[in-house]
Symmetry: C2
Subunit: 243 residues, 2 copies
């Protein structure tokens, strides 16, 4: 029986690695993943063989990992954040269904919703939604429906992939949808390059957020009606203070 670990490495810096993630990569004969993530972890394992592919080559990467495992090598497939949240876990489990001789273990990690929230304060203190604005794989009308429902439910909303080089107006469009149900003064925040060099963050109103120019390395938080700013932190109370 050969093994593939699908490993969430957290936002980037080694301090966010769990012991389980580190040990999975130590056990692996080869680390594979998107070039940027391999570059983040390869220095921790200087002797380790690596295989990296660019973005949008996820299916090829999974097939390579499965074939390599079938040849008897233990593979660690490296994902930023968590292995399953917009990660590779689902795809490799789907493709792996044709390779019953390969054992696939999912190793969770600190996804950007959690690491970004910790930078801003505690925006996820109560019920929340995580929504990706990437319309490469999801039709925009479905994204818009989810934004509407999240706003109607007064969830805190954490947004992944707020924009990209090709899609520069998705965040503005998303904020417009949210403002149909949420106050323009709703407390929001964003964090860029979480846990990496050049980390930046800002707390601002939903109205101001709509005019921000952000990139794909930014995670965005839109508060619920109870989210407040508390000594410069974005906080969504769980409600302990109620009688």
């Amino acid at each position: 029986m050969s093994n593939i670990f699908v490993v969430g490495i957290g936002p980037g810096d080694a301090v966010f690695l769990t012991q389980q993630a580190r040990s999975a990569m130590e056990q692996a004969d080869v680390l594979c993943g998107y070039t940027v993530y391999i570059d983040l972890v390869a220095p921790l394992f200087p002797e380790k063989e690596t295989y990296s592919t660019p973005m949008k080559k996820e299916v090829d990467r999974c097939r390579w990992a499965l074939e390599t495992a079938q040849c008897g090598k233990t593979v660690a497939m490296v994902c930023s954040g968590d292995a399953g949240v917009y990660g590779m876990a689902g795809l490799i489990l789907e493709l792996g269904a044709d390779c019953p001789d390969v054992a696939i273990e999912i190793v969770p990690g600190v996804t950007a919703a959690l690491s970004g929230a910790a930078v801003l304060g505690a925006p996820l203190g109560h019920d929340f939604c995580v929504i990706s604005l990437s319309d490469l794989l999801t039709p925009w009308d479905r994204i818009e429906t989810r934004l509407c429902c999240a706003a109607e439910g007064d969830f805190v909303v954490c947004i992944y992939n707020p924009c990209s080089k090709k899609r520069t107006d998705t965040l503005r469009r998303a904020c417009a949808v949210l403002m149909e149900h949420k106050s323009p003064d709703t407390v929001c925040g964003w964090v860029r390059n979480i846990g990496r060099d050049g980390q930046e963050s800002r707390i601002l109103s939903l109205k101001e957020l709509a005019d921000e120019t952000l990139d794909m390395f930014t995670t965005v938080f839109i508060g619920s009606s109870s989210t407040t700013i508390c000594s410069g932190n974005m906080v969504t109370p769980r409600g302990y203070r109620r009688p």
Copy 2:
């Protein structure tokens, strides 16, 4: 300047600790938290002073932590899972607003949505909501509205606190609300005692889930319309296979 670290320790076992969480607890003079979580980490730091309080004493615990920090001790406030997701981060930031001389650092961790998902496969591969069914701090009608909106948006739904000794029918009521919008055949799963002794999990339909008797140590996952069972794993595809 004295320090409080609010530390997410993950589901329980030390393998889920990040290096950042371990180092925060090493730096601390005292570990404080809910008795059950202190018992999980205290063995890792046998020399360390600890202060534990029962559930529902969160405000007292935060005040104690702030007073102890003001006396010059570094405090690590231990939370299971993540520090901010239904954790103590928000409360201590609120109470800490009156103690400007205490620096509060939030240390994220692997919340049950992520560690539980890894046990089941990859249920959180696309947009999802996290909802607590605890009506101790949230009126049930607000919980019901959120369940409705989550179902209308076809989100994957991860449920925390599905029931308790006092509230035994909340999961059944939640499933009834979800079934107004979702098929009774929707793929669901639950994981109990994640990463602890006696871990159990099951993949089942929404209709079957409504009849399950679960406890407060269980995390529940309700799939979206695209969630499937793939070689015994619960998988929500991100959609890479589309042309």
